[in-house]
């Protein structure tokens, strides 16, 4: 497979029919919130598309995002799309290492300048000049700004790259930040999730291959087509929420009957993602279906939003000690006010008593 091959050629080499491609294009159009009439055009554009150069940088990551994207069990067209891009630099997957790998990066970036896509997983340490994740003696900030400059667009893959994620969790010793805050002047798409849904990345790539640009984004820089609604809105347990039927513990009768997990801390109502509709592992299941509430992993700072098992209605109020302290403060201030009032009253009473006595004496 060379750089000049088109996706159409690659598909026919693998024995995948045009009919299958059209089907995929129709599905892609739907998931990207385009009308079905776009499907033939998408299929046409896709089959003409050249291999796209993709440079993948990993900073403060756990490789979970990559695992999720590459370990898809069913090798469908989604997988092929992923295979079809020319993954020119990925530290985990590439055979080369050390300076050889760095040379590849330099060469690819030079060759495809202005055209390559830059994917990043993991957050960027900003504190202490980025010493927490040096690669080849260079800080992630330096590498990122250099490569972002020559990229056509930047993909922030996973919650860490999008918002800082778990490395950014309090107390955030490395000063971890999402890349959106660090890359200027280039289109950036956030594909949050811990890990993100593979189909979402594929969809973004299809959009880029077909239309040469990133899909429409929401205010948080996420593809609107996948992140426009909350998990709660699309959840199959939603009717139970509407009926007020809630599981009270993970093994009660309600839980066994598949009632809503809101009271057990499900963050579905405030989490924007496509888990409930696309699901995972080829549409097999997603966390809520397996009986656990949503953790809200694709939302900024999800790790710092209190317990996963605290329901959304219940914030974590102050501890009793603080409440008692506030009450004691109230007694002190109120007592002082009452004391002042008592003194004022007593002095007036003394005054009045004197005056009355003087009057009586006079009489």
């Amino acid at each position: 497979m060379s750089q000049k091959d088109t996706l159409g050629q690659e598909l026919s080499r693998r024995g995948i029919s045009r009919r299958a491609l059209l089907k995929f294009a129709a599905a892609a159009a739907t998931s990207l919130a385009l009308p079905p009439s776009f499907a033939p055009a998408i299929a046409e554009e896709l089959s003409k598309a050249r291999r796209q150069s993709l440079i993948w940088l990993s900073f403060q990551d756990c490789t979970g995002c990559l695992e999720a994207l590459t370990r898809s069990e069913a090798p469908g067209i989604e997988r092929l799309i992923f295979d079809f891009v020319s993954l020119d630099y990925q530290e985990t997957l590439m055979a080369a290492a050390g300076t050889a790998a760095e040379d590849v990066l330099k060469a690819v970036a030079q060759e495809n300048r202005g055209n390559y896509l830059l994917a990043v997983d993991g957050s960027v340490p900003v504190a202490d000049n980025g010493v927490y994740s040096m690669i080849g003696g260079r800080s992630p900030m330096a590498i990122l700004s250099e490569l972002a400059e020559g990229a056509a667009a930047v993909l922030a893959i996973g919650t860490c790259a999008a918002y800082g994620g778990i490395p950014k969790a309090a107390p955030n010793p490395t000063g971890a930040a999402g890349i959106g805050a660090l890359v200027g002047g280039k289109p950036v798409v956030n594909i949050p999730g811990c890990p993100p849904i593979p189909e979402v990345l594929t969809g973004v790539l299809v959009n880029f291959l077909t239309f040469g640009k990133l899909p429409d984004l929401d205010a948080q820089g996420r593809p609107l087509a996948y992140f426009g609604t909350t998990i709660h809105d699309q959840c199959y347990r939603r009717p139970y929420y509407d009926q007020g039927k809630f599981a009270k513990s993970f093994d009660d009768a309600g839980a066994r009957q598949g009632w809503c997990l809101f009271e057990l801390g499900c963050k579905g109502p405030t989490t924007h993602n496509a888990c409930a509709s696309l699901k995972w592992n080829g549409g097999t299941s997603f966390p809520i279906q397996s009986g656990h509430g949503c953790l809200g992993c694709s939302e900024p700072d999800f790790w710092d939003k209190g317990s996963f098992y605290t329901s959304l209605s219940g914030g974590e109020g102050p501890p009793w000690g603080a409440v008692a302290g506030a009450a004691a403060g109230g007694v002190a201030i109120g007592g002082a006010a009452a004391f002042a009032a008592r003194r004022a009253r007593a002095s007036v009473e003394r005054q009045l008593a004197q005056e009355w006595k003087a009057q009586e004496d006079e009489a």
Binding site: G334, A337, A340, A341, A344, R345, V348, Q351, L352, W356
Partner: protein
């Protein structure tokens, strides 16, 4: 029609020294006096009520001055607005904040002058508002307290309330009746009515206080008191050293005068070893003697304080009082009864007069609102003693008049001198025919001496 006994009505308002002084003082000094009066009245109870108001306006619906005039300024809680302002700025838990940020304007003398009508002319301190208030605010009590500051600032209506209060402080009687004059009058009444009169006995178990209004307008009631007590056969005596059952000072807001009157009565009753002090009227002197005197003199009283109706009911119960039933009237009109606010509502004794009426076999047609729910006659709280309040008072009396008319009764019985006077004037001004009767006088008429001796 003067609200005062003509013979004693002051020709020009003989303002007391204190009132005269305060009138001539600089405004600021007077305002200071008012504020001092206000702030010395706040304890936890009054303060709680200050904090509790919901501004729900229900008290207006319980107040005859609002109900009959429809003027929102007569809303009971509004009447103490300056008092509330003083509290918020001086005594409340947020007083420093109120002052610092000017959240409540400070009270001005002009405001207080404006409020004089609301605190005096249009409040009977009858406590109906207290009963309706969902927060249990005793507005009547707060009005009584607020009058202290008003009096201290010389803002009591001078005609005649202030004048009478001044006289009372000076002489021990609102009409300036000296003890020896009092003695003579009482003995004269005894002679005239052929009743054995006991005055200033060295020892007495029962001491009735005397209302100066009775003395001048209803001497029959004084005679009736003597007659009934003689019938009961208890050792009793009027005491001229301290007899003033009017305590006009209290309604005027003069704490000092109030104290002088109270102390005199307590001393007189204590000296003769009294066990029971009888108060002849419902008004505030009953409340004062019954519930406040012990606090005023600083110790528990060595005698019981009872309203005349309570005493009579007790005597009935004890078999000391024997009554002949009143013959039924031909038309079956029956009679009705006006509950005196301070006894029936404020002290929970609406049962006492009804026992007496039952013993008298009266065909009682209750008013639509009776017992603790009764409307005030309109004269309570010193309103009967404010000359200029007459029109307003008659207006407030309308509701009573209507309710009396609704019963179809031709006589309304009262157990309080103040109520009796207000009713008589009210009916007269309205040209109504309904009779006003004193329950005590009726008892005196219906004494069954035969039963007693047998």
């Amino acid at each position: 029609m003067s609200p005062m006994p003509p013979s004693r009505a002051p020709k020009i308002a003989p303002a007391t020294r204190r009132i005269a002084e305060s009138r001539s003082q600089e405004d600021q000094t007077r305002l200071d006096a008012a504020m001092r009066g206000f702030i010395t009245d706040f304890g936890p109870e009054a303060a709680t009520w200050m904090e509790a108001c919901l501004h729900c306006g229900q008290c207006a619906e319980a107040c005859q001055f609002y109900v009959e005039t429809g003027d929102p300024k007569y809303t009971p809680i509004w009447k103490i607005e300056p008092f509330k302002q003083a509290y918020n700025r001086q005594m409340g838990p947020f007083a420093p904040l109120f002052r610092m940020f000017g959240l409540t304007p400070s009270v001005s003398l002009g405001q207080l002058e404006h409020w004089q009508e609301l605190l005096y002319d249009s409040c009977n301190m009858c406590g109906r508002c207290t009963m309706v208030c969902p927060a249990g605010i005793d507005i009547a009590d707060l009005v009584e307290k607020a009058r202290h500051g008003m009096f201290d600032a010389g803002l009591v209506p001078p005609d005649y309330l202030g004048a009478l209060a001044g006289k009372e402080r000076e002489t021990g009687s609102p009409f300036g009746i000296a003890p020896n004059a009092m003695r003579d009058s009482l003995l004269e009444i005894g002679e005239k009515h052929g009743v054995e009169m006991h005055v200033d006995e060295p020892r007495a178990e029962v001491v009735p206080a005397v209302s100066s209004i009775d003395l001048k307008m209803y001497p029959d009631s004084i005679a009736a008191t003597a007659k009934v007590l003689n019938h009961i056969g208890v050792r009793w005596s009027f005491m001229t050293k301290g007899f003033d059952a009017d305590n006009v000072s209290l309604t005027a807001g003069d704490r000092e005068g109030q104290k002088i009157v109270t102390e005199a009565i307590v001393a007189a009753a204590t000296d003769c070893g009294a066990q029971v002090l009888i108060m002849p009227e419902c008004g505030h002197s009953y409340t004062e003697m019954r519930w406040e005197a012990a606090n005023t003199v600083g110790h528990a009283l060595p005698f019981r304080v009872l309203h005349m109706s309570e005493y009579l009911a007790e005597a009935l119960e004890a078999g000391q009082l024997h009554l002949r039933p009143v013959p039924k009237d031909g038309q079956g009109h029956g009679v009705t009864f006006h509950d005196p606010c301070q006894v029936s509502r404020r002290s929970g004794r609406s049962d006492a007069p009804r026992r007496i009426m039952q013993a008298l076999g009266l065909d009682l047609h209750e008013l639509a609102d009776h017992g603790p729910d009764s409307w005030c006659c309109g004269g309570g709280g010193g309103v009967a003693l404010i000359g200029r309040a007459k029109t307003l008072r008659n207006h407030a009396f309308d509701i009573k008049k209507r309710q009396v008319a609704e019963t179809g009764a031709d006589t309304v019985y009262v157990t309080c001198t103040g109520c009796r006077q207000t009713f008589e004037h009210g009916f007269k001004d309205a040209g109504a025919e309904t009779g006003v009767g004193s329950l005590l006088d009726l008892v005196a008429e219906q004494l069954d001496e035969k039963e007693k001796t047998s």
